[in-house]
Amino acid sequence: SAELFMNTFEKIKRNFHSMFRRLFGGGRAELRLSDPEDVLASGIDILAQPPGKKLENIALLSGGERSLTAVALLFATYMVKPSPFCLLDEIDAALDENNVGRFVSMLTEFGRQSQFIIITHNKKTVASASTLLGVTMEESGVSKAVAIRLDRNAPNTE
């Protein structure tokens, strides 16, 4: 129904704005119906404004800014309807170290209430996880799940 959809839409929209501000340290983000006259079929547009910048077409945002904006929308939707688990494959690839830190603190917070499995090559992300799962290919072409000994003081955690 139109009412249920608008209800959900408004919630995600509010969350999106606050998640964005947390991840970017300011700025604002909006969700808008492409066609407000047609609630039951309208598409949804995204507008994002990193702190200090001007609101503009998200195509002009940088690779890292786009990733962070997508992460904000992901968590915003999650707050409204948390899925039983969440599987994230290398979504931190475009983030600089600073933004990985912001992403990781948000992920840690959500991790207190839900199950997240994140595939990553980033050391900061790995260090923030409460559990580490490893996969190797000692024999070419044959995958093997391995236990990872947690030596968090070692220089090489790969």
Binding site: G43, R66, D89, S130, L132
Partner: protein
């Protein structure tokens, strides 16, 4: 916690029977390029009933069966078993723990199980119908796809919102 463990045997690069134990909170899955991490994501999608081969980075469904290496012959069956905790009553089954299994034979035959009882694919998929699991709800974010969240057409994005409603 929802995912308790996964066992892969003959699925893509998992030629030997392999088991991963999941935990609550945030788990980081790591390993070198090409070692099989994203294959585990494919395995989870597959055992939950994924039928779109492109979504599994395959051309034909047969591509998910271990196809051999220089030293090993190809296998004839792919099998994935996912064990789920149902303490929250998320699944419409009256049990605290549920396992789902999917098998594909190179002959083309398929087998599906819920708690070791043979079922049809449709029943397997319906088990998860109302849980919010599945690509459209952002609960599985594939490698390289995070940018599509923004580059999606406004109409496609709507579907995701409808799922959340």
């Amino acid at each position: 916690m929802f995912l308790k463990s996964i066992e892969l045997f003959g699925f893509k690069s998992f030629a030997d029977r392999s088991r991963l134990e999941f935990a609550d909170g945030v788990s980081a899955l790591l390993g070198p390029n090409g070692c099989g991490k994203s294959n585990i994501v494919d395995a989870i999608k597959w055992v939950l009933g994924e039928q779109a081969t492109k979504s599994l980075r395959a051309e034909r469904m047969e591509d998910v069966i271990f196809n051999g290496t220089e030293d090993r012959k190809a296998l004839n069956v792919a099998e994935v078993t996912l064990t789920l905790s149902n303490d929250e009553g998320v699944l419409p089954v009256d049990m605290p723990e549920i396992s789902v299994r999917r098998r594909l034979f190179r002959s083309g035959d398929s087998e599906y199980y819920i708690n070791n009882t043979p079922v049809k694919l449709r029943e397997l998929r319906e088990l998860f119908y109302d849980t919010g699991i599945g690509k459209s709800a952002y609960s599985i974010m594939e490698q390289g796809k995070i940018d599509q969240v923004l580059s999606n057409k406004p109409e496609e994005r709507r579907h995701i919102f409808e799922e959340a409603a």
